[in-house]
């Protein structure tokens, strides 16, 4: 088999596998007859080893609980941003102050978000800094790089939004909630096609940032030793986070219910939804993500509570 092809095929295998078998597998392949099925077989073998190596790197319960809390928190952020921008600057925002039921459910979401932020500030940030300090001390640059992903992603997205806003005249911020709808765009906003293009980039940056943050922090957690942290850290914070995310989910659900009761006409117009969808569709997307985040948070809490049985 061609030496260059062999190198490329062997590079598909996981690093730890290559360290042990790379050299002998390479010399084996070089003397093996080359055909399409053989190449497919080696690619399949590499994928199989990758899945096995992924399974072998299982996280302990502390790490698992923390990773689930992270997913729940990021999910709540995504759903919360969507919910806020769907309501902000629309007739629904005014309706909140006209109906006490709407005001109460809106405040339920706010209370949940404040509680989630409090958990993040008291547990998340100190844990993040401890992991960072430990990684620096041990010169684990792989962990440091992964921990740097969320702040970098947030900075890139913010920088893009500021730059795009400046370039498009400074009167419009490129968010996917302000593209078009059942309203007339101000004259000083950029043309519709530009708004679609710029806000799509913002959306992609936001989603990529959240997904990359989840993956990189999970990998950093897996590479960090959390066994020295007290169990109470995990149990208390995961239960509080689960409570806060569930409160937000309940608030968003009841808010939608009451809006349907009191301001249905405003709820079904394209007035602030994601990418000019109806407010109802955008609210529904938030509900789904909030419910998924609640499931994650409850799973994280269960994982933390099972620590006492370790």
């Amino acid at each position: 088999m061609n030496a260059r092809l062999v190198c490329q095929l062997v590079s598909l295998y996981p690093q730890e596998w290559r360290i042990r078998y790379g050299e002998e597998f390479q010399s084996f392949l070089e003397t093996h007859p080359s055909n399409f099925r053989t190449v497919l077989n080696v690619i399949g073998g590499a994928l199989h080893e990758r899945v096995l190596s992924f399974r072998r790197l299982k996280m302990d319960r502390r790490q698992n609980s923390l990773a689930l809390m992270l997913y729940a928190f990021l999910g709540a952020i995504a759903a919360g941003i969507n919910f806020y921008w769907t309501v902000d600057d629309t007739s629904l925002a005014a309706a909140i102050y006209n109906y006490s039921a709407l005001f109460t459910s809106w405040n339920l979401v706010r209370a949940g978000s404040f509680l989630a932020l409090a958990v993040f500030a008291t547990v998340g940030i100190p844990l993040f800094l401890t992991m960072l300090r430990t990684a620096f001390a041990a010169q684990r640059w792989d962990v440091v790089c992964r921990l740097a992903v969320p702040p970098c992603a947030a900075l890139v997205t913010l920088a893009w939004m500021v730059t795009a806003a400046q370039l498009s005249g400074g009167h419009w911020v490129p968010t996917p909630w302000d593209v078009t709808g059942d309203w007339t765009a101000p004259r000083d906003w950029p043309p519709l096609a530009t708004r679609w293009a710029l806000s799509s980039v913002t959306f992609v940056l936001m989603m990529t940032g959240i997904i990359l943050s989840a993956i990189s922090i999970r990998q950093a957690i897996r590479r960090s030793d959390l066994s020295k942290h007290r169990r109470l850290w995990f149990t208390a914070s995961s239960m509080l986070l689960a409570a806060s995310v569930a409160t937000m989910a309940l608030g968003v659900l009841t808010w939608g219910w009451f809006v349907q009761e009191y301001a249905a006409s405003d709820f079904h117009v394209r007035n602030g939804g994601l990418f000019s969808s109806t407010n109802f569709a955008s609210w529904m997307a938030s509900c789904i993500v909030f419910l998924a985040a609640t499931v994650m948070a409850v799973k994280g809490a269960r994982s933390a509570l099972s620590l006492k049985t370790e």
Binding site: E24, F28, R37, N41, G44, G45, L47, H48, E49, V51
Partner: protein, 129 residues
């Protein structure tokens, strides 16, 4: 996201298993039976002494009519070595020979005995028809 990636990899693995025996000699000669459990084939191939990869492939073809692909062979070798059923010997002319460990010998004996009993029971049933 990670779960989706894992699911995709697993689907690819199923595809890999479909193509893992790159060339079945049994397809050309239907009189030869076909048996495809790569780790057991590798263990059985090493039963009469140490062998390197190419020798194992040819031996397995003779024994079972199945030609293992390189990915399948090294997947089985890695798994057997992880389970301490085989061990590497010093390299000979860029070729890496392997041999059975004492544990591998015990496991192989037990597996073959089970298969032997199974085959005998099956044959008895056929004869009783």
């Amino acid at each position: 996201m990670l779960e989706i990636l894992v699911a995709c990899s697993q689907i690819s693995c199923y595809a890999y298993y479909v193509t893992r025996s790159t060339h079945d000699v049994a397809d050309q000669n239907p009189n030869l039976g076909r048996y495809s459990d790569p780790p057991l084939l590798v263990l059985t191939s090493l039963a009469d002494g140490p062998k390197h990869g190419h020798a194992m492939i040819e031996d397995i073809v003779r024994m079972s009519g199945t030609r293992l692909g390189p990915g399948t062979l090294y997947g089985a070798i890695a798994r057997l070595e992880r389970e301490k059923l085989i061990e590497p010997l010093p390299v000979e002319e860029r070729r890496q020979p392997y041999r059975l460990t004492a544990k591998g010998l015990r496991v192989l004996r037990a597996k073959l005995a089970t298969l032997h009993g199974f085959a005998r029971a099956g044959l008895r049933k056929l004869e009783a028809r």
